[in-house]
């Protein structure tokens, strides 16, 4: 499903990835561990296509991420879920708007309908809970299930 072939990545003078190759099959779980600055997040960003490698190829399903054009890349990204270390929620929006953002942007139904499409009672409870606890990581988790990503990358 996800494959990296001989990927090299360098930030200025620092060689972060030096010929990395790996393959992740469907249903498989892979944990990447390492010191700070060793390139763990870089691998996730390369899979997501927000970074381009200096050399090598990255595949997601049948798509070669490194060769995709912007529009196609955006479509492919919709099948990849990313959970950020610090949640990366939009600070200018409230919890409800953060949950609604991908629903509004990537589906055709009206917003109220979209929010009610999700198991609303459970969601509403969790949103209220998050508002009280200001726990943003849980908001990310709430926003993810409707997309049913083929690949989930917790950073």
């Amino acid at each position: 499903m996800v494959e990296l072939r001989d990927v090299h990545m360098q930030f200025e003078e620092k060689q972060v990835l030096d010929g990395v190759s790996l393959k992740i099959e469907p249903q498989e779980r892979l944990v990447i561990m390492g010191q700070s600055g060793s390139g763990k997040s870089t691998i996730l960003r390369l899979i997501l296509g927000t970074l381009r490698p200096d050399s090598g190829s990255i595949f997601f399903k049948r798509f070669e991420i490194t060769r995709l054009r912007r529009r196609k890349l955006q479509q492919v990204r919709r099948h990849i879920g990313m959970v950020y270390q610090y949640s990366a929620l939009l600070s200018s929006r409230n919890v409800r708007d953060n949950v609604a953002l991908p629903l509004e942007e990537l589906t055709d139904k009206p917003r109220s309908r979209r929010l009610s499409m999700q198991n609303s009672s459970s969601l509403a409870w969790r949103i209220r809970k998050n508002c009280c606890q200001k726990s943003s990581a849980a908001v990310c988790e709430n926003a993810l299930p409707w997309r049913a990503p083929s690949c989930l990358s917790p950073n």
Binding site: T50, R70, R77, A88, S91, L106
Partner: protein
């Protein structure tokens, strides 16, 4: 001890570096605008709104409505000063009735758009860069990209459109404030009554002058928003990077506005020398 001159090769290398950096930045902003348009129109072609109306109106309010007092006040004072300074010089030749035309033409064609552009570059350009820069360093922009949402149409397009549409309105506010200040000076110091003042303004001002000012304003609005958003989305290096990019954004936007104004005038006077 005599200072040694740097070798010519080093000077040429330095010039080369600066030129390369300049061209890269110009190209970067140009493609940034092109990609924003492309992403926005692609979305429209699919029958979807490119960004939330609320986002557009919020930026319109910030860039436009909230800037009216500042633009109006500064232009009022400038109009006052200009009318006074030119008035006393013209009075020596008995031609003080030229003041209304002089100030209104100067503001409508040149100073109105230019001053508004400089003020908005400082006020709104800095705000756009700081806001997008903070989003960039806190991974919010990347999170938007990760969801498959185009950040250019989602974050940049409403800001660009707001400034593009609001600049001509603010330039008009600037012109009106300056002309109003001039009318007060003319009445108080040179005994030119308001109806006569208006006749003099109408006689001297051409439609061409107004159109020139408005076209310039549209251009300045687009350039300021593009530079501010570009700098914001290319921030690197945390909080310090946001600060550096904000400063750079204001300096670049003001310099570019003045540069474009000069270029516009050179082209304009080539085709319409009178």
């Amino acid at each position: 001890m005599a200072k040694t001159e740097p070798p010519p090769v080093l000077i040429a290398e330095g010039i080369g570096h600066v030129t390369r950096y300049f061209l890269r930045e110009v190209g970067g902003v140009f493609w940034f605008i092109v990609n924003t348009f492309e992403e926005t129109f692609e979305r429209i072609q699919h029958g979807r709104v490119p960004f939330r109306a609320a986002s557009f109106f919020r930026n319109t309010e910030r860039a436009g409505v909230d800037s009216v007092p500042l633009v109006g006040l500064v232009s009022f004072f400038l109009g006052l000063t200009m009318a006074l300074l030119t008035g006393y010089q013209l009075q020596r030749f008995g031609t003080e009735r030229l003041i209304p035309g002089l100030v209104s033409i100067a503001f409508t064609r040149e100073l109105g758009p230019l001053i508004t552009g400089i003020m908005l570059a400082a006020r709104i350009g800095a705000a756009f860069t700081a806001e997008l820069g903070t989003m960039q360093v806190s991974e919010e922009v990347e999170a938007i990209e990760a969801m498959g949402i185009g950040p250019l149409r989602f974050l940049v397009a409403p800001r660009m459109l707001a400034l593009f549409l609001l600049m001509p309105c603010l330039s008009t506010v600037s012109n009106i404030a300056a002309v109003f200040a001039t009318s007060l000076v003319c009445k108080a110091y040179f005994s030119i009554a308001f109806p006569y003042f208006l006749d003099l303004v109408k006689d001297s001002l051409l439609i061409r002058d107004i159109i020139t000012g408005i076209l310039k304003s549209f251009l300045f609005g687009l350039v300021i928003a593009a530079i501010a958003c570009y700098r914001g989305l290319t921030v690197k290096g945390g909080a310090a990077g946001v600060g550096a990019s904000t400063t750079s954004s204001v300096v670049t936007a003001i310099t570019t506005v003045i540069g474009f104004d000069t270029l516009y005038n050179v082209i304009y006077t080539t085709f319409y020398p009178t």
